[in-house]
Subunit: 456 residues, 2 copies
Amino acid sequence: MLLAQLLKPEILEMLEAREWNELRAFLTAQPAPEIAELLGDLARRDRVVVFRLLPRVLADEVFALLDADLQNELLEGLASDEIRALLSGLSPDDRTALFEELPAGVTQRLLALLPDSQRRETLTLLSYPENSVGRLMTTAYVTVRPEWTCAEALEHIRLHGRDSETIAMLYVTDDRGRLTAAVSLRRLILAPPETRVAECMEDHPERALRSLQDREEAVRVFRKFDCYALPVTDADGSLLGIVTIDDILDVAEEETTEDFHKLAKVRPIETSLRRASFVELYGKRIGWLVGLVFMNVFSGAAMSPFENLISRMAVLITFMPLLIDSSGNAGSQTATLVIRALALGEIRARDAGRLLAREALVGLCLGVLMGAAVFLLGWARAGAAVGLVTALTMIATVLVGCLIGLLLPVGIRALGLDPAAAGAPLITSLADISGILIYFSIATLVLHHWAAGGAP
Amino acid sequence: MLLAQLLKPEILEMLEAREWNELRAFLTAQPAPEIAELLGDLARRDRVVVFRLLPRVLADEVFALLDADLQNELLEGLASDEIRALLSGLSPDDRTALFEELPAGVTQRLLALLPDSQRRETLTLLSYPENSVGRLMTTAYVTVRPEWTCAEALEHIRLHGRDSETIAMLYVTDDRGRLTAAVSLRRLILAPPETRVAECMEDHPERALRSLQDREEAVRVFRKFDCYALPVTDADGSLLGIVTIDDILDVAEEETTEDFHKLAKVRPIETSLRRASFVELYGKRIGWLVGLVFMNVFSGAAMSPFENLISRMAVLITFMPLLIDSSGNAGSQTATLVIRALALGEIRARDAGRLLAREALVGLCLGVLMGAAVFLLGWARAGAAVGLVTALTMIATVLVGCLIGLLLPVGIRALGLDPAAAGAPLITSLADISGILIYFSIATLVLHHWAAGGAP
């Protein structure tokens, strides 16, 4: 954003003037993330041109940083041998991530370009279920032997660590390939050189991830243990690969974006909003909107029995948006707090009882203050009777809204589903329907009683 | 969650039976995050007891992992010398984080317990503005000299790195303390031992964070460069400290939670939802709810001129929740997508023009399909005229809702404020007011025309 953005006009000039050597020299001096960002901003026809100018290693780095749709676009513009070199330069987990996003036909064609060993490795990683830890892992890691000295281990790392994604953690396996321990590079470095590796080992087999585990669980484990890399094993405890924190950060960000989208009842958009097409945006949004239209038919139906009352007291209607919105607002506040807390693992379904009691109290107190405010409004506009009706309705609907906002996400989670599905629009619609019933019922009761017993 | 949770009954038993030695032996074998989680679950009176049983180093680790309110509670239960030992065991950035959260009086008391050098360091870190990078940094880092060989550098790290928060990155400064370069431990390890440090150095002064920068910007830089640690300098380029990724992860999580809360118009809750008190929950929610009540007065006012129409055609009212909800739903979809994309830096205020055109098209097409659905409903319930009114209203209100959902957050960002302030409840209320005006205006026009010109 800083450098490449500032210099974009100059780059476009160099492209225009076909000053390839100057452009190449300029690009080579930039860090990979800047170039990746620049590529995203360029016109389609300039992208391949600029990308081709990059030296080998930098090109690999930049490519790994691009979004899947840009990677796909570049691959379409490159020759087979360029693609082959590029794919070989990617780390195993970045390669899996790329193939995951490509159309099946393209994947087949690209797999054919890979050397045998890389093809086999890629196919193995792709065979793990979508959203599993297996899909995130890389097979490039370093193992050490417990009987080595730290100095020997460091020498081994120096000779064999170059291709490993991280050397911050080293792993120890037994004869049958089962993970027995991990050693941090930090401990190897800080220990006197003659110390045995065995003395530096940490022994936390329970922290290893399983290849078939959901990747969201992996995010939670990383968060909890504050670590940079974790080993991945199969059900027998054999070491299959490692997962590093950069991939976990990406997953965490994706999951959070998904939660935001679900909260607003948008089916998760996978590319960035900037690049999302009209068709994608429309398709991801229309489903729930139309669904909610049909759900809202009930709110109309809830009103029908009261048409008579409405005709007689049109002033009641002028309070309706206020009353049902307040209930929906309070409900979506609760739902959002609960959904986020569930996502962070702060609360569990079994806390529901205690939370319910507190939420009922909060909802009631919110309703009372808001009811007092609306009483004044109602009184001023249409007399004490209407003021009383609106105040009682406010208390009841806000309370009901809060309880819906709590119970819906917790209930959905208890069913093993994603609580973010209880998004604000759904809460609002449910709050509306119940709010209308409550409002007109209270109005009928109070106004009838008032008419029968007392002052207007 | 795994181990400590499963064994909680046994721990409670040991506590009950006062089997201190057994309990101590058991706890010592657990990893720090498990113990931190366990402490959170224990009753208040058991917490200090269990914490006191932990060996020194483990106690420091566990303490650093606790939430601020638990830390505060423990400090209240410990003696001065215990507190002194505990505070000294914290890394400088964790110590800043603790003092930040404590009441001012407690901070003063605790500062007095620290040895001189640590007190000065803590006061310096605390002097940086809240939410600045300076508050996140630690002063425990290792510098190396460019003329050393890699082997010499590694030996230096072995001897002086023990107290450093990370040794993954080492820094090079000139005679005046200004940062000139960084070297990754990885490169030092992988290089032949006789290589000069100068040959392994990376030279990205633009990546250094500034101590006064906002911490949210630091999150973006970390995300972009996929790094584990970044140096922090003052305006002159002097190296002041480093920030590591674990602190950045915490900040990113806090900021995201804040965004969720703002989106639902809750003022950000700083402790976890589980521990938030009734008073805190109430206080953080009531402000906007009451504010929206008064804002909704306008939606009532918008309806007043149409009271006559409402009395004559109560059936129109039964469509009102449906129509204004749909507009609010579409608007909050847009707002949520835009707010998240702004938070991730995917779009900038200057993209507004292009986004506006696309959003208008999406909004129009969403409205047309939803209008078609509602036309059928209206026709079936109250004839073609009402069907037409509801359909036209749906198209107009959904379009307006989408545009409000886009323009409000982008506009707020353009003013330099946080776009998450344009939360769903605010969008809903604005959409409601405009929706009511649109609905009854269209109804007046169409029904008047219909009555004058054609069939019922």
